[in-house]
Symmetry: D2
Subunit: 189 residues, 4 copies
């Protein structure tokens, strides 16, 4: 596991969301673990391995507070993988987790979030801890046993408690975040 | 095996070809066996089963005179599966057999060749005998053992020899077609 | 395909049969195509590939007159793969085709049929034509597409018709073998 | 996850060990996490799923202090699955983790450890925590993602520190067990 607990995960830059009623960002997810699968709809290893794995993560960790996000990081064949094409792809492959289109950059083939994270290609897996730091970031196919272990470790961590990290702070003090969102690791089944 | 040896296979209507220096049609292929895999690039069963199977057919029957053809029969999500998208798909999935785009119909979602054959969806497998008749036509995933058997049966058949079917006929008689095109079934290895 | 149409297939030497009410031998099967899968119950490639493939052949060619035979050719770990162990194995793996134990040789590790055929190991696939000659004989995992093609070719061959080959000959003449046993290749479905 | 943190795992009763220079028991493993895969060499689901999964666990968690144990719980076909047969099986399938033969019971088909744990059949997965309690016990095929998560949770737990559980306690107090045995969860890679 590549664990750099000092690096805050860069914010997502998403031009369009699918499978979610509201937009998502890492700031609002602070306190929860986030699993990001960066893919392209025409990337064979993503279609055969990464996306089915992400769907399994979504299903098997549904009783935890893990947030699964698909990130469509198009860096080639842009004309073939636009929003309309991705919408059809999501429909045909019955993908149910939230998927965001990584915002295109006006002057580069690599989209913005992909660039911020320094991703090398697709598929790439990123796991972000409750404190917003990157716990795992790797290009290529990952073994389910390891993904399960990394997620369990991140989910088992305590919530960050310092004042400045809590979104609910006011001049009157800091409210404890809603613990109901965070199920125990025994919720994994 | 669905064998209707009285039905001549309808001609293909192709708007664009990939992976072939020349256009193809059934008329010019008369005398050879043709394996057609009708697919859509966003059809999951085509991507996971049909196209890899077609690629295996292309490779394992390369020493026979079998002609493998991929037929892109887009009947839904037309905007997502245009020529540009298919080109990227063929490149990313390393498909090497000739692939034709079934010509769109101006007034129907179903493209022309698909309509002529009465195909029910994708994937669909069609095998055409040396005499131009449809030997197999079925919607869904096929077992490799059966595909191998159907192809061997069709390849083993003698060339059609009636005067009107042979392209090399003249007032002096009918020349036997070049047998070099037709390898023996022992060519399968 | 290794086709040596001059080599008569050596007779089987079987010490015990499973899954068949009567013993089998190649002489009595003359006129039919025979598919032999030589395996060992502790051979990983046989368990993961060869035996499931043989089971598929048994199921998919059930409407032809193909005879499927499993041949347990134990040439190592003899104590671990005796008749009692094989019986349990056949039960647990739900194998339904006839399986014969290749007769042990008193002075060699390699059993008798395996020796007669010159097999190099397990899994080995042998296909015998209607005339009793070996049409295919190869060590290792085989592709379903090719097995299907080889079987279809062998099944499509005409019955041998010479006097001396027919088992039903008497001083009065030779009766034509029961054609009802031989279904057309279109029986493959 | 079935977590019954009050149930101490019953001790193993092993008649013979493979792949380990010394015998193993849970008492000596106290303080470490133990992954037990109960199998039979003629159980198809064990051969196709359970044993390959156990081999992956052995490989992917090699930098933690996890102890992987295969438990050969023969409750049927006893004659076919004796020590000699198991030895050949382990050799042919290239299994590298310690495997113990569950001691046969003189008056029952079910062997002793299997009986003590109340196992329902094979494959069965048992995970034992650092404190010697059963953290997971289930019959059937398990998903790699979940096995990875359960193991990471158990590995992340602190060593038991109560006086009576520690072997290094004296009248002067209790020495902290050698932490070198317990690698951090970041050792999972």
């Amino acid at each position: 596991m590549i664990a750099d607990t000092t690096t805050q995960a860069p914010e997502l830059d998403i031009s369009h969301w699918f499978n979610t009623p509201t937009t998502l960002n890492l700031d609002m997810l602070r306190g929860r673990v986030v699993f990001i699968h960066a893919f392209q709809m025409l990337c064979p290893a993503c279609v055969s391995h990464g996306l089915p794995q992400t769907q399994r993560v979504q299903r098997l960790f549904r009783d935890t507070d893990l947030q699964v996000i698909g990130l469509h990081t198009v860096f080639e064949h842009h004309a073939a993988m636009g929003p309309e094409a991705l919408k059809a792809f999501i429909h045909e492959y019955r993908l149910t987790f939230p998927i965001g289109i990584d915002a295109a950059s006006p002057d580069a083939a690599i989209p913005r979030t992909m660039h911020r994270y320094g991703m090398r290609g697709t598929p790439t897996t990123v796991i972000i801890g409750r404190d917003g730091t990157v716990r795992h970031h790797r290009f290529g196919i990952e073994d389910d046993l390891l993904v399960g272990a990394w997620l369990a470790n991140a989910i088992a961590e305590p919530l960050p408690t310092t004042r400045q990290e809590l979104p609910a702070c006011s001049t009157d003090g800091c409210a404890i975040p809603d613990e109901s969102l965070r199920r125990l690791e025994t919720g994994i089944r």
